[in-house]
């Protein structure tokens, strides 16, 4: 599954570590989500979407 997390994070000038800390996950988890290696759980996807003020389907895209 592809996503826009990296673009949204960089638009806010956040590091992966800072975003991870804000969402309660590790920097490695953010990195894995951004490169598409790890698909977040629905609760985490919702937290990410809320953090960026968007919908889940607005950030995560089924290939």
């Amino acid at each position: 599954m592809q996503n826009d997390v990296r673009a949204l994070r960089e638009a806010l000038g956040l590091s992966q570590g800072a975003l991870g800390a804000a969402l309660g996950v590790s920097r490695q988890t953010i990195q894995s989500i951004e490169v598409g290696k790890y698909d977040p759980s629905l609760p985490l996807a919702i937290r990410i979407a809320r953090y960026f003020g968007q919908s889940v389907e607005g950030i995560f895209h089924v290939e």
Partner: protein, 136 residues
């Protein structure tokens, strides 16, 4: 879970782990000094490595899912990595242990067969962890 609860659980785990290692040493010493010493050194080495992993996790420098899991601060990806690693370890144990049993029945030295099964199982877990960590 509160951080105090997590810290208490981690310290409790360390104390229990060291107690098990020491008890195992005294138990094995009644049968074989060399094996007992190996268990003691190996067990304490593992506990020391876990202590380093926990310390790094608590100070935010740990980058491995295993370290964060050992420290009780695993997130959902860490838990997923550990779950998949242990699933591989569990399923392959059904290959290592019967393999050792067959080898013993066929005349292999039981100590050697069990030792190979043990280290094979450990190697399987290590490889499974590394592969899973890199792929997720």
């Amino acid at each position: 879970m509160s951080s105090e609860h997590s810290t208490l659980r981690t310290y409790g785990g360390f104390v229990a782990g060291i107690a098990v290692v020491v008890a195992l040493f005294f138990l094995l010493r009644t049968a074989n000094d060399s094996v007992a010493l190996g268990a003691l050194v190996g067990g304490l080495l593992v506990m020391a490595l876990l202590a380093v992993a926990v310390w790094r996790s608590r100070h935010g420098t740990a980058t491995a899912a295993l370290a964060r899991s050992a420290a009780g601060v695993a997130d959902e990806r860490d838990a997923d990595v550990m779950r998949r690693t242990l699933a591989v370890g569990g399923s392959t144990s059904m290959m290592w242990l019967p393999g050792a049993l067959v080898a013993i029945v066929l005349g292999a030295d039981p100590m050697i067969a069990v030792t190979i099964a043990l280290y094979g199982q450990l190697a399987t877990l290590v490889v499974a962890y590394i592969v899973t960590e890199r792929r997720s």
